[in-house]
Symmetry: C2
Subunit: 245 residues, 2 copies
């Protein structure tokens, strides 16, 4: 009996930082760069229509990122953390017309042949994509802020995936104006900085096994949410057009 109690205690001790970080990084094996749709994108196999479907749907995700980050701010009582985290909102929203990550994504859409009006109108956003993104924003609103921070750690896997994607888009899809790919070039610089800050916070604050488990679960949830978007985008709109609009 004594031994089993001890065993349980040891099991529930927090992992040392290296081990915890390894558990977080291990979620990269579920990152959406491994999804068949992204693999086909990277192999140059997507039709123009598929890339357009992707950019129009993925824009809804981009559009909601500042809401997610503001929800983290709204739940975080620590001024030093907020002073850092707010940069994400400024980076993505920009500070004026024609600045910021959302604007860059609108330009990406234009480069792929989808007008900004069409992106903004959200008409091509598939229901399952909307549900996935909305679930992410709700997660950030409702869960402890450190878990929402942990969910952002997909940025640990972003840069290498973006590097591959950027090269693939430039090489295989010659009809895309390279100027439209600025969003990804910017993320190559900013994502590592953002990811390191988030990782430091998560390691520093998740000091019990329960907190570490919750952080890993949050990151896993995020990988599922990104993956579900691509499932829906790959499938496309399969519903028969209704009558009366």
């Amino acid at each position: 009996m004594t031994e089993s109690v001890t065993q349980t205690r040891v099991e529930r001790d927090p992992a040392p930082p290296d081990e915890f970080i390894a558990r977080l990084r291990a979620q990269g094996t579920r990152y959406h760069n491994l999804h068949p749709f992204h693999r086909r994108m990277d192999a140059g196999e997507l039709a123009r229509e598929e890339l357009q479907r992707w950019v129009a749907n993925r824009f809804y995700y981009q559009k909601c990122i500042p809401l997610k980050d503001a929800a983290i701010l709204a739940n975080c009582p620590e001024i030093e953390v907020r002073r850092e985290w707010i940069h994400r909102i400024i980076d993505h929203d920009g500070t004026a017309e024609e600045t910021g990550g959302i604007e860059s994504w609108l330009r990406l859409g234009e480069a792929l042949g989808v007008s900004r009006a069409e992106l903004q109108a959200e008409r091509r956003v598939l229901p399952a994509v909307r549900y996935a993104v909305d679930a992410y924003v709700s997660f950030a609103r409702q869960r402890p802020w450190i878990e929402a921070v942990a969910s952002s750690l997909t940025e640990l896997f972003g840069p290498s995936a973006i590097r591959v994607r950027l090269e693939a888009l430039e090489r295989h899809y010659e009809w895309i104006d390279p100027a439209g790919l600025e969003y990804f070039r910017t993320r190559l610089v900013k994502a590592p900085r953002d990811a390191q800050h988030a990782l430091d916070l998560v390691v520093e604050r998740c000091l019990t096994r329960e907190a570490q488990d919750a952080a890993v679960a949050a990151l896993r949830f995020k990988t599922e949410m990104l993956w579900a978007q691509l499932d829906a985008i790959e499938r496309g709109d399969t519903q028969p057009p209704g009558e009366g609009g």
Copy 2:
């Protein structure tokens, strides 16, 4: 019957902007500068201990303002609105150590003889003050963002109240280091700008009588919330000290 239906319709038409603005401004008759505690403050009648109780409790409100503003951001899908609103968070949180409105409030506390450690520990925060402030943050999280914006319109009444308070603090309480009053001097400049932006938004977006009523109700809620804080601060801690801490 027809006449009564017509009558109802007319009653529910939105008010023209001037009339709507007048309804909002009329809430100023419930603003907390009229509370007996603030009147006594302005008349130079507060004891040092009362001012200290005020600053320690009111700090909890100040501390939560960025959470309220981030909740508005998190609920606002309009990038142009967010680009403006985010300045409030930056103004209050500052961008580095020793900057921002919360820092100024800590200095005010020091000028009134309450250390920053004591303010930050929240030990002197009365339960009723905490409940009132938390209700405000919850309101911003849960209600439509434009109602939370409307609740900020107490800033329409702030500057003239602050002007009176600032002069009163300087004149009647000679033991206060005037450098500690910087928070109020800054608000004299920023509050009118913030209030005008919020008022423009509320008038522009509240285009039905229902929306206008909700905006007025939000502002009234805010005046009640500020007033309830002063009721609690005036009363002070009336609970007998318990055993065991």
